[in-house]
Each structure stands twice: as C-alpha cells, then as structure tokens.
Symmetry: C2
C-alpha cells in the first residue's frame, strides 16, 4: 500500500459546501473526492453532462462501465431508475445516459441534475463492507464485515473506536466469524489484508478528523489479492453542531476523589437519632464501621445525635468538611447543597431519590449546577451511599461488614448494590469499596476508575452499569486500569437493541450490544454475562496469581468431572496443554496403571491423599504448566477436608517457592465438600462444589484479563 498523506483541506471544502447548502448527504462525486483525499481507493470515474461525454469518458476509463445519476435531490439512485451496470460498448453508454435522464425526470421532475457519473465497473474477489457510525455512547466507531448474507443475515460484523491503528484494523479482519474466507478458504484467492486494514484505518481517521461526518458506508468494497476498491461510497453529515463531552483533567479528578474516599471529616445532613430513618442508619454505620475521622451530624433540632454534637447547618461545623452525606428529602437538597458548597466540601453523597428517576429532571439539573458552581463532586442522586473499607468508611444505609479486601464494586442500581453486599457477606469476599452511582448526575465510572487505578487498596474493579455517560472516557480509563488490575463489567440491557435511526447499512448493523461488546473487549474489560458471574469473578480473580502462559492442565480424581472440566475449558477459551512425553511419564509415575495421563490427568477414584499431593505438586513446580484445574471426587480414602487441607498446604508451599500459578478446583461429593470449598477459599484457592463450570469460568476470566493486559504475550 502506498503511504498516503491525508488532504484535510480537500475534505473541508467538500463538507463546507454541503453544509452551506444545508445538505446532510454527499453526492457520489463528493464522496469520491473525500475518499481520494484520504487514500481510499474508488473506481476510476468522471461526471458526464451529455451522452457523448459519457461515451468518451467510458472509453478513457475502460469498458465496461456503470452509469449513475448525480443529483443532490436523489439519494436512492436505484429506486429512481438512476443506475445501469455492465455497459460494454460506446453505444450502450450513450443509450444508457438518455435512459437514466428520462427515469430521473419521471422520478422527481423538480430534482436538480448534475449529470451522470461514469464509473469503472469492478467486481470479483471478496465483497466486504467498511463503514463508520456515530454511536450515542462511544462516538465515532468503525465497522467491518463481509458483504451480503454474512453481514445482513448472520450479522457477522465487528466494531472499533475510531481512530484506530493499523494493527487494530488488521485485528478486525480476524474478528469476524467468517475470517477464514478472507484468508482464502474454499480455494478463493486471499484478500489483500494490508489494503483492507489501510482502508479501515483511513475511514477511522476521516471520521475522527471531521466530527461532522456522522456515517460512512463503503459498500461493497471489492477486495482482491491486489488491493481493495470501494465500489460505492455513502457519506452522511450532522445537521447541527457537533458537541464533544467535557472531561476534567486527571489531577483534578484525583484530588476530589482522594478527599471523598479518604476524608478527614464527614457531615451527615439529615442525621437522626430515630431508628428506621436513613439519617440514623448512616450515622450508626459510620460509627459502628469504625470510621476514625470527624463525624458531624447536621440536624437543626437536636443538640446531639448518637453521642456526637450536632449542628443546625453544615456552615456551623467548626472545622473543614471533606464529605457531606445527604439523607434529607429531595426538596431540601438544593439549599443544603448550596450551603455545603460554600463550606468547601469535596464530595456530596446524594442518597435521596426523587430526581431524574421519578421524572424530576429539572431538580436534578439544578443540583448539578449548584455542585459544579462550587466545584463539588456529587455521587448519585438516588443511591445507597458508598463504603470504603480501608478507611472503615461505611457512608451507606446498608450495614457494614468486616471482610476487608481488594475488590472495588460499583453499581448503578440499588437492588444490585444490595445483592453485592449480601453476596460479599455470605462468601466473605474481600472488598475495598462498594459504591452506588445511581443517576450518575455527576460522578461516573470514569471518575471511580481514575481513583481505583492509583488506589493501592484495590486490585480488581467490578462494575454493574446500564449505560455510560461518556463511553470514550470510560474506555480511556479502563485501558489505563487494566494494565495492572482487572476490570469486570456487567452491562445490563444487553439484549435490548436500542431504537436507532439507520441512515446506512453500517448504521443498521450497529445494534447497541454488539458495539458495546466489541469495544469493551478491545478496551480489555472482562465482561460478565450475568450478575452471579460478576460477583464470582470479583470474589475469585484477586485470589488467583496471574498466569504466565496459556498451558492449562486438569488433574482429576473423577474421569466424569475431567470430561466436563475439559468442556468448560474449551467453552472459556482456555488451552488444554499438550503434555510433553517426559512430563507425561512423570505424572504416570504417581497414578495407577489404569489411570489416564495426557490432559485431563485422571488419577482415578479411590486414590490416597498422596496421589493428589504428588500430582498437584508436580503440576505446580513444572514451569511449562501455567494453571491447574482440579477435579475432586469424594471418597473414604481422601475425604473432602483432607483434600482441602492438603491442597491449601501444597499451594502455599509452592507459592513460597515462587511457583505462583492459578489453581481452581471443582469438588464433587456429599455435603462436606461445601466446607472444604470454604476452607480452600479462605486459603486462597478458588473452589466450588457441585459445579464443573464455575471454577473454569473464573479461571477463564482471569485469562481474559491477563491477555488484555498483555501479560501473556511471551
């Protein structure tokens, strides 16, 4: 591919002209001019204003040709009878010209006609579609798919944020189900991948450079072994001005977030001594949770609440206040927030509901403006509060619990927040933070990610979200965080295809969830399919060391579990190691002659603890193995707790020797296996009873992150 320097000036001229004329669609010649300016190959062509001119142009370009009407008033050319293909002689071109002009006149007598486009007729090779849309969440997004049935019926298409690198564009070619086709499956010539990737990259650059371009549709693009040519170009423009979201600088976000998560003092506006009130729950949870900063109850009617001196207003508090937690009805919020703003709080934790979620959009807008005016960052409204365990800061109406750990969880919904709390408590999941984001009127996931990225108390982030205020800001934040910490996302509303006005093929293909899925995956997010997956990933990922490579080995006492664990490995994109002969021999030395080495390694039922110990130790110590999946079968010879204690001991031993590998276990047996799993979890080994899927799914999630973070590239 020739390196092309874009000519933005040429594009600017075309766009300015179209917008000056109030058009949102470009003509074919305009589209071609833009493609030329960005090095996007299109067929040879020219504009003819007479039949003779058309025939002359055709002779110059080379026969056969295609004729197409050119009119700013006719967008659907085929419908208007404005397209003729395969004209192979000068006479046919002349006659075609006349025919098209007649049809166009019949279709729309008032249409302004610029002439007829004479175009090189191309075809052969692979038919693909390359396009770009303006997604409401992510902004400019490029799309790639194979043309025809594959993209239109099978919806085999892939999306990326624009702009994108050549490598990312090449990745798109491999990210469709029918990827093999372009590589020359079924005896066809392989497509010129470099040419296709370059075209995708250039479309990405074009829409990024010119935000007023809302959609680009190159469909079809013919890709042969020698190159790629866009046979049809469709470009749509925004009717109005283009607004970019405002983003605060990272330093400024961090300054606020640090004061919010590590406050020296918290005021509770609406603090109450009366049980059953939210202002009472928050007070009790702050005190009982063990928060060591100043707690200032604000209540105009009580001199003291739960033993602490109360103040009529936040202005009356003697010292500085970092955080104000609001536990008052919505109608009193604005005035209190104004006062808190004047007091200089960094954060307003807005528990009250009764704002946008009940239709009170103006009320919400009002408090956003107050907060912004005072430089106050606001969490919520309509949330259960927030909890940051390293500071024992339980500023929520849900009771605190005492397992500190390294996972930060956020949720957009209160119900999901309560599920997070219940699950955490019952599974003893170690948590650094639980944060409700609610209506996200101000603070959103980007801000929280920015804090968690640099928070040494957090090693993993799990987020439930229903939408993103600024998808691009979210992706930027995620990309930074995932380098060192997994980010798990449960995106609700997966299957609800957003109603979308489809102005082009690409637009019609960009169903909300496919765009989310591709872009979140590219950003390195570990996406959870459901609530329980998110919770289990959050619980298990921090317990697993990062794998150093793709070789997974299954060691099982039950052949039946081995088969199911293998299924689960394939389902979760894990690689069952091909065991080298020397290692196979080493395993065989420990197992009965009728046991099966290979992978799964079936040590057979009824074996003593030593067989589990020897094989697991070998698996942990051999550097060619990168992760272990254990299948335990309850027997009298090796009861569940014996298994649990020995595995915990062996794993700890080997970790002490530097053999840190993820180990997950599936326990099949009578109810004692539940206690054994609990013991294993307590000792840092992920273990589940009555399921072969879950332990492998969490290992798969760890691998997805490790790959995205580039930790497995070696």
């Amino acid at each position: 591919m020739p390196n092309v320097t874009p000519d933005p000036q040429a594009v600017r001229e075309v766009l300015d002209k179209a917008r000056a004329e109030g058009r949102t669609g470009l003509t074919a010649p305009e589209g071609k001019r833009i493609c030329d300016a960005y090095g996007i190959a299109t067929p040879g062509e020219g504009l003819a204003t007479s039949a003779e001119e058309a025939a002359a142009l055709a002779a110059e370009i080379g026969l056969p040709v295609v004729l197409k009407i050119v009119s700013p008033d006719i967008l659907h050319k085929t419908e208007a009878g404005g397209v003729l293909v395969g004209l192979a002689t000068p006479e046919a071109v002349r006659e075609g010209y006349a025919q098209i002009m007649a049809a166009a006149g019949a279709y729309n007598a008032d249409a302004a006609i610029d002439g007829v486009q004479v175009q090189q007729m191309i075809g052969g090779g692979h038919e693909v579609i390359i396009g770009a849309v303006t997604d409401p969440t992510f902004g400019k997004v490029v799309a790639f798919g194979l043309g025809g049935v594959l993209v239109e019926v099978i919806k085999d298409v892939t999306f990326r944020l624009a702009p994108l690198s050549g490598d990312e564009a090449t990745g798109m070619l491999d990210d469709i189900k029918a990827a093999e086709v372009l590589k020359g499956a079924r005896g066809a010539a392989p497509a010129d991948r470099a040419a296709l990737a370059a075209m995708i990259e250039r479309v990405g650059a074009l829409v990024s450079d010119f935000p007023e371009i809302t959609e680009v549709d190159l469909n079809p693009v013919f890709a042969t072994a020698e190159g790629a040519i866009a046979a049809d170009v469709r470009i749509l423009l925004a009717a109005g001005p283009v607004v970019e979201p405002v983003r605060l600088p990272r330093d400024q976000i961090l300054a606020s977030m640090n004061r919010i998560f590590k406050p020296r003092s918290v005021a509770v506006i609406g603090a109450s001594g009366e049980t059953g009130k939210i202002g009472n729950s928050v007070m009790r949870n702050l005190i009982n949770g063990g928060y060591r900063g100043h707690i200032y109850p604000i209540n105009p009617k009580a001199p003291e609440i739960l033993g602490l001196p109360a103040y009529p207003g936040i202005a009356d508090v003697p010292g500085d206040v970092d955080v104000a937690v609001f536990a008052i009805p919505a109608k009193f919020v604005a005035a209190a927030l104004e006062e808190a703003g004047r007091k200089g709080v960094a954060g307003a934790i807005m528990i009250p509901s009764g704002f946008a979620e009940t239709g009170n959009v103006e009320g919400q807008q009002e408090i956003v403006e107050i907060a912004r005016r005072h430089g106050v960052r606001m969490l919520g409204p309509n949330i259960y509060g927030y909890y940051y365990t390293p500071e024992n800061l339980c500023a929520t109406f849900c009771t605190p619990y005492d397992v500190k750990g390294s996972v930060a969880l956020t949720s957009q919904s209160g119900g999901i927040g309560m599920a997070i709390l219940g699950f955490s408590r019952t599974t003893k999941m170690g948590v650094s933070a639980i944060v409700g984001v609610g209506n996200k009127a101000d603070v959103d996931e980007d801000d929280l990610l920015t804090f968690f990225e640099q928070d040494d108390n957090t090693r993993c982030v799990a987020m439930h979200l229903e939408d993103l205020k600024d998808g691009r800001g979210f992706v930027d934040a995620v990309r930074r965080v995932v380098k060192t910490k997994p980010v798990i996302v449960l995106k609700a509303g997966r299957t609800a295809m957003g109603a979308r006005a489809a102005g082009s093929h690409t637009g019609a293909l960009a169903g909300d969830d496919k765009v989310y899925d591709d872009i979140l995956r590219q950003a390195g997010v570990v996406r959870a399919a459901g609530l329980n997956d998110m919770l289990e990933y959050a619980r298990s990922l921090p317990l697993m060391p990062t794998p150093q490579g793709e070789n997974v080995v299954i060691i099982t006492g039950a052949g039946g579990s081995g088969v199911l664990l293998s299924d689960a490995c394939v389902d979760n994109g894990l690689t069952l190691m091909e065991i080298p002969p020397d290692l196979d021999e080493a395993f065989r030395a420990y197992i009965p002659p009728f046991g099966a080495a290979g992978n799964p390694i079936d040590i057979t039922g009824g074996e003593p603890p030593s067989t589990y110990e020897n094989t697991v130790r070998l698996g942990l110590s051999d550097p060619r193995i990168h992760a272990l999946v254990l299948g335990y079968w309850h027997t009298i010879v090796t009861p569940p707790m014996v298994f649990a204690e020995l595995i915990a001991r062996v794993v700890a031993d080997e970790r002490a020797k530097g053999n840190t590998k993820p180990v997950v276990a599936s326990l099949a047996g009578d109810t004692e296996v539940e206690e054994a799993c609990e013991y294993l979890f307590d000792h840092g080994v992920v273990a589940y009873p009555y399921t072969t899927e879950k332990p492998v799914a969490v290992l798969g999630a760890k691998y997805r992150w490790a790959r995205a973070a580039g930790l497995l590239s070696g």
Copy 2:
C-alpha cells in the same frame, strides 16, 4: 412437487452391482439413477463415449453444458482435470471431450474410463447442500445447510434422524442461522421450500431404505422459486455388512426394571460387618434407609451380619431373590453372577470396578454373556449403586437421605453421582431415584427411561451421559417420556470433536456435538450446558406448573434487576408479554406514579408488602399472563422473609383457585435473602439469591420442555 413413488428395485440393482465390484463409491451416472428412483431432481444429462456423441447430447439437453469424466478409478474429478464448465457451442463440447480424456490419461494412465458425462448447466437461485451420513451414535442422519461460506466456514448446518417427515424437513429449512436467506432476504427470490423439503425427505428415505448407503452428498443443490436440482451427487457405500443394534421389547424391559426397582428381596454379595468395606456400607444403607423387603447378606465366613442371618452363597438363600448387589472384587464376580443367574435374580447391581474402565474388556464381556444367558439385567459395572426412594431402597455405598420427591437422576460417572447426592441433600431436592450406570455393559439410559416413563413416583428425569450405546433407541425412549415428563440431559464431551473419517462434505460437517445437539433437541430433551444447570433444572422443574402459553411478565422492586431479568428472558428464549392497555392500567393502579408499567413492571423500591401482593396476585389471576418472574429488592419496608411469606401465600391461594402458573424469583439483598429463598423453595416457588440468571434459566428450561411436549401449541 409431484408425488414420487420410490423405485427401490432400481436402487437395489445399482447398489448390488457396485458392491459386487467391491466399490464403495458410485459413479455419477449411478448416483443419478438412484436420485431418479427416489424423485431427487438432477440436471439433464447423458454419457458420451466420443466427442461427436458428446456434441449431439449437448444439443439435445440444451447448451451450455458441463463435461465430467466418468471413471470408477477417478473419484476426485476436478483434481484430475476431468471437469469443464460452461461449454456453449458444439465445437467447444468436442474440444472439451478431447481435453478431458487427455487430462484423465495423464492423471491415471491405468484408470478405466467409461466416458464423459454431458450435463445440463444449472445455476442461479440459492446454493444449498443436502446430505446424509451414518453417525456412530445415531445411525442415518440427514443434513441441510446453505452452500459455500455459510456451511463451510460458519458451519451453519442442521441435522435430523432419518427417515423424517415432510414437516421435520421443512423445520430444517428454518433451523439454520441464515434461514431468512431462503425466504428471500436481500431481494433475492425465495426458494421453493416444498421442493427443498421434499428432497431432504427423499434423501432420508433413501438412506433408511438402504442401510448400506453410508453417505449422500448433494452439493450444490440449486434452489430457485420453481424447484430444486442437485447439481452434483456423491454416494458412498459401506465396505462390510451393516449391523443394527438389538433392542429388547418394552414389556420385557419393564418386567425386569419393575423387579429391580421394586424388589421383594435383595441379596448383598460380599456383605460385611466390617466398617469401611463397601459390602458393609451397602448393608447399612439398605437397613438404615428403611427398605422393607428381605435383605440377604451373602458371606461364606459369617453366620450373621448387622443382625441379619447371612448365607455362604446366593444359592443357599431360602426364598426368591429379585436383586443381587455385588460388593466383591472383580475377579470373583463371574462365578457369583453365574450363581445369581441360576438363582433367577432379575437384576445384578454391579458396583465392582476393574472391568472395561481399567482395560479389562474381556472380563466385562464375560459377565455380560453370563447375565444374558440367564436373562439377568446388569447395572454397571463400576458404579456407586442405585437408590429408589419410594421403596426406601438405598443399594449404594453412599448414605441415604430423606427427601423423597419426583426427580430421577442417573449418571455415567461416580464423581457426578456424588455431586448429585451432595447437591440433593444440601438443597433438599426431592428425589425418586439416583442411579449409576457406569460402564453401561448392559442396562443403559433407554432401559431406565422405559421404567421412569411409567413410574408414577417420577415426574422428571435428569441424566448425565458421556456417550449413548444406541442413540436411536435413546431418542425413541425420550420421545415417549417427554410427552408427560421433562428429560434433562447433561451430555459431557460436548466440545471434543470426535475424530471422524470424512468421506464427503456432509461427513466433514457432522461434528459430534452438533449432531447430538440437533437430534436431542428434536427429541424434546432439555439439554443442560453444565453440571450445575442440570442439578438446578432437576431441582426446579418439578416445582413449576406447566405454563399454558408464552406470555412472561416481570414484576420487580428494583429497576436494575428488571433490566437484568429482561436480558435473561431474551437469552433463554422467553417472550416478554406486550401488556394490553387495560392490563397496564390495572397494574398502574397498584404502583407509584413514577413506577413503570409495561414489562418489566417496576413497582419501585421502598414499596410495602401490599404492592408486591397486589401486583403478583393480578399477574397470577389474569389469564392472559402465563408465567411470572419476580425481582425482589431488600428494603426495611418489605424485609426478605415478609416477601417470602407473602409470595408463598399468594401463590398457594391462587393455585387453589386454579391459577397454576410458574413463578420464579430473583432476590437481591443482604444475607437474609438466602433464608427467604429457602422458604420459597420449601413452598414450591423457585427462588435464588444474588442471581438474575438462574431463576430465568430454569423457567426457560421448563418452557423448552413444554414446547417440545406440544403443550404450548395453542
């Protein structure tokens, strides 16, 4: 489509000739003759043995034509340069003839050449593939897919047992991902569905009528609006004799199974008084389980075991013996089985391992023959035994547990059997039977299904299996059972594609699991993706009444759960009812003004118990609604146990009034929701904490069964 009466005699002649010549492949003219005999349309054609004859034939058939070499020694015609297409003039046909003969001679000088086939050149319309293979598990299976990339790269293909009805064949057209294409998506003419279905049906009839036909490959078939023509026909034959599996008559199976599951007496061969021995565990479990028939311990060395008189051999037992449980080492089994056979036992429960699973295939064959000679049905070997709760018959080395119920579970693996037991105990799942089938040397799933079908104590069957001895027998049994009882199957080894010698396109497409999946689904099986799914389906399906229609309604206290529950409904193929205006109004009357009716019905958080009660009661009583999915959010106003008790009460009330609908619930909250879920399960309402997926997945499983059983057709 014309009705065609097959001409088996014509096929028989072709096959006999080919087999007499020791061939396993048919020539193109032979293939065409067979197609003609079964009404499978192929292009007009004839065999030419000279260039002149070829030109004359071409003129008769109509130009253009295709020429193909005909030789029993050249199967890969294209490779041999033996195919020319698009010959449009008599001269081209003459030259083509000469060219093909020269190429064939160069490819294989020794090949016997019958001549050159002159064939009508067809094309246009849709390119599809229709074929048949002989599957090792299911026997004759037909395949259908769209040609080209879709079938070869995307693997968009569907399978059915042969023979099949016209309706089943039509169903195949709709069962591929690209089904819309045949209906005329993208402006193409729709294909003649009747012609395609008829061709599939006829291929199914052909391979069923002639078991020695192992593979048929019609590829491509061109399907237009006017009909379907198979452009290329490839038929392969079995080299050796064709053996069909032996099946016992249903009465005979039932007679044995009834004696085995409801025995008047059980002998334990290898009974022991010594703790830790299997023969001791089995004795204790029979006695402690409460079995009321005679128990005869067999042990040559003890006069009495656990208080019961023991006998040196089974021959010494005074009365009749229905079942002999074997708890002795493998090497003593054959002699003891011989003795048990002479005693006239109906069943031998073969716990011992040490047979085929450790490589002792001969030993296993020996005991199978002994059992068969005596008409003894044998369960195992290599199993944990069996348990039938209605008879308190715990003939296993796992301890009995006391929740009788209506689910029968079977497993091929001991580990999975132990997981079934532990899960059953901890979740208090009501069980009718737990059966190990182990090596399946004799009794297999078909026999057990035949028993469970007519067993009034069993209302649902769940089976873990790794393979099927006789897939067709299994399908027959399943089809009978699912009419009244769900059959849940966990098929392990899903992702291990069996190594298969691919003699045709269709053969190459028939990956084990796709065939299993399509055929099990068609049989009406509810397939579980993993172990935990199987267990949860088994636990929950019997608790749910059968839905009377497809209208599912979500009622939720947490908007966030509502979105996730909607996602789960779509994932599980459930239909979210479009609420009619009058019903919408009726719901709105019970919920706050800012709550959302529609579906999900969001009653909003913080509502009192009465809001849950009113809306759930309305959902249960309105006959247009067929199933409810509840989303609970833990609040002080409606705590978990208050919710649980009220839902249990309302559901019971409404069921008493005849409003029997499935109700499932997802509870989001602090740990008290676990107790609430337990309470709900105890009261017949399926409820799970911390997950929005599981309750919907089990409802989806119930629907899958109800649809398969034809209970939702109205």
